[in-house]
């Protein structure tokens, strides 16, 4: 790991001043950043430790009926906040399906939004990677690309965004609050991450010094609390990134879908909202036929970026399964294997 200066500001303006200097990077828990630094993938000159900034670790109910989650709230604390989990069960389920208990205890909400891709060629500094080193090529294009993107990718980069949390948040129209050198601005989470195009090194719309301070859910986000699921297919039962995942949130009124929200994970360089599929479901009956049409529409634009055509069908099926599970109703308690598409017997000892 390259050495660095370490500063620990005690106010947001002080943090932004330090974070605006060349070579500076914000440090929260460091569960992703330290890993990247150990591999030489990230080489900051200065770490600006934001973990002691006041007021960013709160979950606040807003007067308008929404909720504001501070950027320093730990993933486990958000998932286990009973009021939050009841109102936004798909978000809690996504959180509990990510990483391990140790990592969830440390990792922050803000850091989750800004975690980097797990593309192996991005991590291997001996490989060509346009995201890590612009112009060096993309070794994933002709490499081991089974888990790479099927939506939103470009010739320059086929990496996926690895977050689980972002998937239901995007479905629920989350807004990101950002402190900048010139005051506060807000960006829809859906617009935070950029598609790679010809510049995959520019992953978000954040500018130098910008600091995410909170994520907000709008008042209508809890309309889906009775019918909300996040399902995630992994190469192993637990502690793995998504091969494909989907958040499905429905509001159902007299056996008709009033409104549907769908987003996918593991399929694109950003959490992927499926608006065409949502439109098809508005006013439809919550049945298998409607869900099949919607799932097909969600993947209509998908194309393989390598040896991963199977992910298109798999993603279609996870959307279908998530919609059916959401229609069946949010479980009383988050399942023993959160987000697992495999059914489990309570207390079963051999069911994976």
């Amino acid at each position: 790991m390259k050495s660095f200066d370490y500063v620990r500001p005690t106010s947001v303006p002080e943090a932004i001043a330090a974070g605006s200097l060349p070579g500076a990077t914000y440090l929260a828990a460091g569960t992703n950043l330290l890993d990247l630094m150990k591999g030489g993938v990230s080489r900051p000159d200065r770490l600006v430790d934001v973990t002691r900034l006041p007021g960013l670790d709160r979950i606040e109910a807003l007067a308008d009926g929404g909720v504001r989650v501070g950027a320093l709230v730990r993933n486990a604390d958000l998932a286990h906040d009973a009021t939050f989990a009841k109102a936004y069960p798909a978000v809690a389920e996504a959180l509990l399906s990510g990483a391990s208990a140790q990592l969830r205890n440390a990792a922050t909400v803000g850091g989750n939004l800004l975690q980097r891709t797990r593309c192996a060629y991005f991590y291997d500094v001996a490989s060509g990677c346009n995201k890590r080193e612009p112009g060096s090529g993309c070794d994933a294009r002709h490499g081991d690309n089974r888990l790479h993107a099927i939506l939103g990718w470009s010739d320059a980069c086929i990496a996926t965004h690895p977050s689980d949390l972002c998937v239901p948040l995007v479905a629920l129209d989350a807004v990101v609050e950002i402190e900048t050198n010139s005051g506060r601005r807000e960006v829809r989470l859906e617009d935070l991450h950029r598609l790679p195009g010809k510049a995959p090194e520019r992953e978000t719309v954040l500018e130098v010094g910008d600091l995410i301070v909170a994520v907000r859910l709008p008042p209508d986000a809890h309309n889906f609390s009775q019918h909300a699921r996040y399902l995630k297919l992994r190469d192993r039962t637990s502690y793995a990134f998504a091969v494909v995942s989907a958040a499905a949130c429905l509001s159902i009124d007299r056996n008709k879908i009033a409104e549907a929200r769908i987003a996918l994970g593991g399929v694109a360089p950003k959490p992927w909202r499926a608006r065409e599929a949502e439109k098809l479901l508005a006013g439809a009956a919550p049945d298998a036929e409607s869900f099949r049409r919607a799932a097909k529409a969600a993947l209509a634009e998908a194309k393989p970026s390598g040896d991963n055509a199977f992910k298109i069908e798999l993603a279609c099926r996870i959307v279908l399964r998530a919609l059916a599970a959401a229609a069946a109703g949010t479980p009383e308690r988050i399942p023993a294997l959160p987000a697992s598409p495999f059914s489990t017997q309570p207390g079963g000892s051999h069911d994976v």
Binding site: M1, S3, F4, D5, Y6, R8, L27, A29, G30, T31, L34, D35, K38, G39, L47, D49, T51, A76, H80, A99, S100, A101, Q102, L103, N105, A106, T237, S238, Y239, A336, L337, P338, T344, P346, G347, G348, S349, D351
Partner: protein, 165 residues
């Protein structure tokens, strides 16, 4: 600029001034305090061998920058037993053959302590396995590990029942 780091480790206060800002909690414990019970497996947050409790919560010490944890209270495997008296979890790991080579065991036990503190798994083996998935065991002693944790959870539940009654 070198920061002095104050930590309480297993109840003992320490002031440490590492010469290198890059030091993680794991390296600080092992190299500066010579508490080598906490193991360095992958050093990348993938295996759980370095699990410790920081302010009562289990985390991977290999991905925790020591400077960032100034002021923290830490429990390592060295702080679990009371003199010659094993912690019930340690005794249960022995009773249930919850290890073979033992390299992952300190991390497994610290993780299980964290799991019990979190209070989410109860006596459901599926929830225990899921809650312990951040700790790998190359010997494959998972069945014994689950039984050991379950055993301790069950006796805790019985104690609580007795206290209520």
């Amino acid at each position: 600029m070198h920061h002095s780091i104050s930590l309480t480790v297993n109840g003992v206060p320490h002031d440490i001034a590492p010469s290198d800002v890059r030091v993680t909690l794991l390296d600080l414990l092992r190299e500066h305090l010579h508490l080598i019970g906490t193991k360095k497996g992958c050093d990348r947050g993938q295996c759980g061998a370095c699990t410790i409790l920081v302010n009562g919560r289990r985390i991977n010490s290999c991905l925790a920058l020591a400077a960032s944890h100034d002021g923290a209270a830490i429990t390592t495997i060295e702080g679990v037993a009371r003199d010659d008296q094993l912690h019930p979890l340690q005794a249960a790991f022995i009773a249930h053959d919850g290890f073979q080579c033992g390299f992952c065991t300190p991390g497994q036990i610290m993780s299980a302590l964290g799991l019990i503190n979190e209070g989410q798994a109860g006596c459901d083996p599926e929830r225990i396995r899921e809650g312990m998935s951040g700790n790998l065991c190359r010997c494959g002693a998972y069945a014994g590990i689950t039984e050991a944790v379950l055993d301790v959870q069950k006796s805790l539940a019985e104690t609580e029942k007795r206290q209520v009654a």
